[in-house]
Symmetry: D3
Subunit: 132 residues, 6 copies
């Protein structure tokens, strides 16, 4: 199995509901360093998993819709805790839509899956892994 991963980041504000979150129930924020991995069994005709330039561009496009925002105000996230692991799934699912729409090239339709990791600090991160 082959994979390529590209990294970018996003800076957001949000708050959590639930006693388990303690002081994180207050409005605060985070930088998420985001690693998006694309995997497939065999390389395409160009000898790659997917173009790293295209992957970087489309990850950037997905993150631009989240960046410099208060996620508490985003209708898409009404009533949910935008935890690091939840956001990993949001980004993975939006990248999957990009793949299905052909934004990562026609060869990318043979991708087997996507994993997204969000690093919220130097001591904590989360991942979400899905098939395509």
């Amino acid at each position: 199995m082959f994979s390529i991963t590209v990294r970018d980041h996003v800076m957001i504000a949000h708050s959590f509901r639930g006693e388990v979150f303690g002081p994180a129930q207050r409005l605060h924020g985070a930088t998420y360093v985001v690693d998006a991995s694309f995997r497939r069994a065999d390389l395409d005709a160009d000898g790659i998993v997917v173009d790293i330039g295209l992957a970087t561009q489309e990850l950037g496009a997905v993150l631009a819709d989240l960046n410099y925002r208060n996620l508490d105000d985003e209708p898409a996230f009404a009533g949910v805790n935008t935890s690091t692991e939840f956001l990993a799934k949001v980004i993975a699912d939006r990248l999957a839509e990009k793949v299905h729409a052909g934004a990562l090239g026609t060869g990318a339709r043979d991708l087997a899956g996507i994993t997204v990791a969000l690093h919220e600090s130097h001591v904590a991160w989360a991942t979400y892994e899905r098939t395509l």
Copy 2:
């Protein structure tokens, strides 16, 4: 599949038995930077894998029993080489006991598995992966 990972470290002394270890047969030591990952198929009612604060606290508790010690003197490790990969299993198993005992919250009983990585330097690390 979702996961969250928390990082901490531990500083120990030990020696190895066996020619394969060369100069590491002498008493020496290591800092292990420890990454403990918890994974599950779905998020809990709070939208998380397990509380990052609780996970950090319980990893810290497991490491406190090893920290600032000469592992050659620990009865629990008599007669074994406390290699990086062996210690990854020790920590993963002790975290699994914590999960089963409810120390990571009642929701954590739905965890599917644990992976522990121990970084012994910038150029070498080991992992142990298990189910729950």
Copy 3:
């Protein structure tokens, strides 16, 4: 010249005023990975710059006053942009007060200076350096 550095982090929300900030004028947030360095010409009687445990504890205390907060609501920062470089100075100055108050030990009174670095992502950071 000797130095020791300890690392911790803080997660905050804020917004900026000024066209130069573009979309960062919206309420957003950041994780700052914070490195606090203490320097002195000679080691103390224990052979150290300052106790790493105490330095970690006092950096944690300074960051606890900022953590999980919306800095736009903090009276201490009314009317200023809480940029990464500005916050580096805030943290360095508060650590300097700790040193002068003896919180880092009596030997710490011989410290020559403090440098604080705030990493806002994997591709951007800021520092502030001062004497004591």
Copy 4:
């Protein structure tokens, strides 16, 4: 499942053929920071996956055949794009040959698989994973 990973690096020149590569069709180069992981179900008689010293030595031997070279001139790679993901497979396969030849010790014959990751920058990397 256990694993150990060792890290080294290699510096090469090459060019790519195909419009998808844009300016990377020109002769350029890369440092690849290479992580080679070896995994197995159980530890060997010494309590390890494979000797980290031997693993480091054999990874170094594999990389020495690539290092400080223009890959466009290597007969082994004639007519293929030496993409990061392609090179991950080359290195994994050559390490597998080393394992089969006994270069990683007789215990290493119980290894279950190898994964190789090549970091081409701080924002992009590729992996190849295989069984043994």
Copy 5:
């Protein structure tokens, strides 16, 4: 003293002349992860050293003139070894020209100096520091 640093990277081919370089006399290549730091005594009217967005953009512009090239073919580098430390100076000097030309904003004219670090691998890097 305040500073901000932004990070980007560049991928080039080159060779060295001189016995000291051993196998690096062959045509090979490198990824340089480039950190450009800007320092000044006081913050500007916006409370910053220089806009991180502008700094990132101008560093990218400087690197675009080097990226995906064989430096042996660049007239600007005829007859010199394009060592990591030499390239750090090239990039710092070109950024200094950008500052003097106003590309980093009018406030940037109060910058005191620039430092550029080039990481050629996980185990070697070089810096060049200059005043403005």
Copy 6:
């Protein structure tokens, strides 16, 4: 001012004397990831600060005398706390002797200074800086 830095590591056991060290008074150990920086005002005739290969070799030689040892048993350190900052000075001073003895090449005699950083974990490190 130019500099180059090379990285290696060393794994040792030791204990500390003094109440300030708390549990670190017990025999324990550490991996130190060691960064040795060499600086000079101008490049040499080959266009470098010092040969990175030679610098790596000589740093390795200095570390080999410390590696896989219990520093409590080393006569050279009798009666002192082998703190991270103290060891940074030991390594810097031994590298300085190497420079003066010509081990880093004749051009290295123009070096202006050496800085050594020892990372004892992902959250703590120390440096020592000296002239030559």
